[in-house]
């Protein structure tokens, strides 16, 4: 399996998903309860297990800023400190649940998994179009029953669009066009670019942009390992390029954002969003792009579920074969392995005698 990278920020939810109802999600095998404080609307993330008998806090209820365990009433404040236990005045000093650092940015809620002392809110990668009024965004989230590494592989190699998503977003040119791959080792970023000069326009773009005929299609991926995947997509009629000053008024831009958040070694949350800088107020375009992209995501979900089942029947040390299209995916795998190793190193260790 792909090792988890600790001491990293992960997308936990869209901001709109978290309110005055407890939301439970598991990240890197850690069950976490999310809610918004009543007093200041801040997102709170606490370990989803009562310190008393391990009952999930998400099965309890909110009372103002606090969470009340649904089993025996242990009550926790926003920092995870127990402030009430039933029947006695003294609250044991060790009665606290872990609280997780949280950052809400660009409409996403990020949670830090690892040593809280190392959490730097400035290190959260950005996807500004998600919360920019000049862009219109549709999105969702689908869980996949697979190792998160399979989703990283999937997104870093878009040649699969031609085969798995043909008739939706894939056309023959995607698989045929050579890619350029860059790894910024220090930043932990993989970039994969595929610029198609003269390509068929798939329904996803034909129906949303109204372009009839062939297109120039650029796909520029920026993967900020481990979680955030950005696909900068530029669509224009064939031969129409950006202006000499760098502006690009005659093209359609779509920012496709994915967040890949590992849940367990056999489940990953696949957050997806499609942002566009055209037809911003057109509800029909919004509905079309939402439904079509969700269909595409569900094709990936089905494929990766099947793939994981097949891999689970393989013997240890099975062979794979990588070709040119895998150049970006291989780079991503290696960065993930490095981040996982670094996360282990900096995790608090018990001194050996």
């Amino acid at each position: 399996m792909t090792a988890f990278a600790k001491n990293q920020w992960y997308v936990a939810a869209y901001g709109r998903e978290i309110g005055r109802e407890l939301l439970g999600r598991t990240f890197l095998d850690e069950p976490i309860a999310f809610y918004r404080a009543e007093s200041d609307d801040q997102v709170i993330a606490l370990a989803d297990r009562c310190v008393h008998r391990r009952y999930p806090l998400t099965a309890g209820r909110l009372d103002g800023d606090t969470v009340v365990c649904g089993y025996h009433g242990f009550t926790y404040d926003t920092g995870g400190t127990c402030v009430f236990v039933p029947g006695q005045k003294r609250v044991p000093r060790t009665a606290r649940v872990r609280s997780y650092p949280v950052v809400e940015r660009d409409s996403l809620v990020w949670v830090w998994i690892g040593d809280p002392a190392l959490a730097d809110p400035g290190a959260v990668p950005r996807a500004p179009w998600l919360a920019d009024p000049r862009w219109t965004t549709v999105g969702g989230m689908e869980p996949i029953d697979a190792d998160y590494g399979l989703l990283v592989d999937n997104l870093l190699d878009l040649s699969h669009e031609t085969y798995l998503h043909g008739g939706y977003i894939g056309t023959p040119e995607v698989a045929e066009t050579p890619i350029t791959t860059e790894v910024d080792e220090g930043a932990g970023v993989v970039r994969v670019s595929r610029h198609m000069d003269d390509a068929e326009c798939p329904p996803f773009y034909a129906r949303s942009t109204g372009i009839e005929g062939r297109i120039t299609r650029w796909q520029d991926i920026e993967y900020h390992a481990p979680c955030l995947y950005l696909l900068h997509s530029r669509i224009a009629p064939v031969g129409v390029g950006p202006e000499p000053d760098g502006s690009d008024p005659n093209a359609f831009h779509v920012e496709i954002t994915y967040a890949i958040t590992p849940s367990t070694d056999r489940q990953v949350y696949d957050f997806w969003a499609v942002s566009r800088d055209f037809a911003q107020d057109d509800e029909e375009v919004s509905t079309f792009l939402h439904d079509l992209n969700r269909t595409v995501v569900l094709q990936d979900v089905a494929a990766l579920n099947v793939l994981q089942k097949a891999l689970d029947t393989e013997r240890e040390g099975y062979q794979e074969l990588s070709i040119n299209i895998d150049t970006g995916g291989l780079a991503a795998r290696r960065i993930l392995a490095r981040l996982a190793a670094e996360g282990e190193k900096t995790a608090p260790v018990v001194a050996s005698p």
Partner: protein, 68 residues
């Protein structure tokens, strides 16, 4: 935010061919038809990297050094 650094490795798939062309941040280059092999060479930097023109961040160029 992931701030860009100078440690950038690049692999171009040469159009019209099956050839991959790798360039290390030290300026060393190599072509291959197997991405696994090319990444192995690339990430072994500085071992086996002999840039034609030393890049600015590596003014002394590259000697072959054992990997630690």
């Amino acid at each position: 935010m992931s701030t860009p650094t100078a440690e950038v490795y690049r692999i171009d798939w040469l159009p019209g061919t099956d050839v991959l062309h790798g360039v290390c941040h030290c300026g060393a280059e190599r072509t291959a038809e197997d991405p696994v092999e090319l990444w192995q060479w690339m990430l072994a930097h500085p071992s086996g990297h002999h840039p034609a023109v030393p890049s600015e961040d590596q003014p002394t160029g590259h000697r072959e050094e054992p990997r630690s």
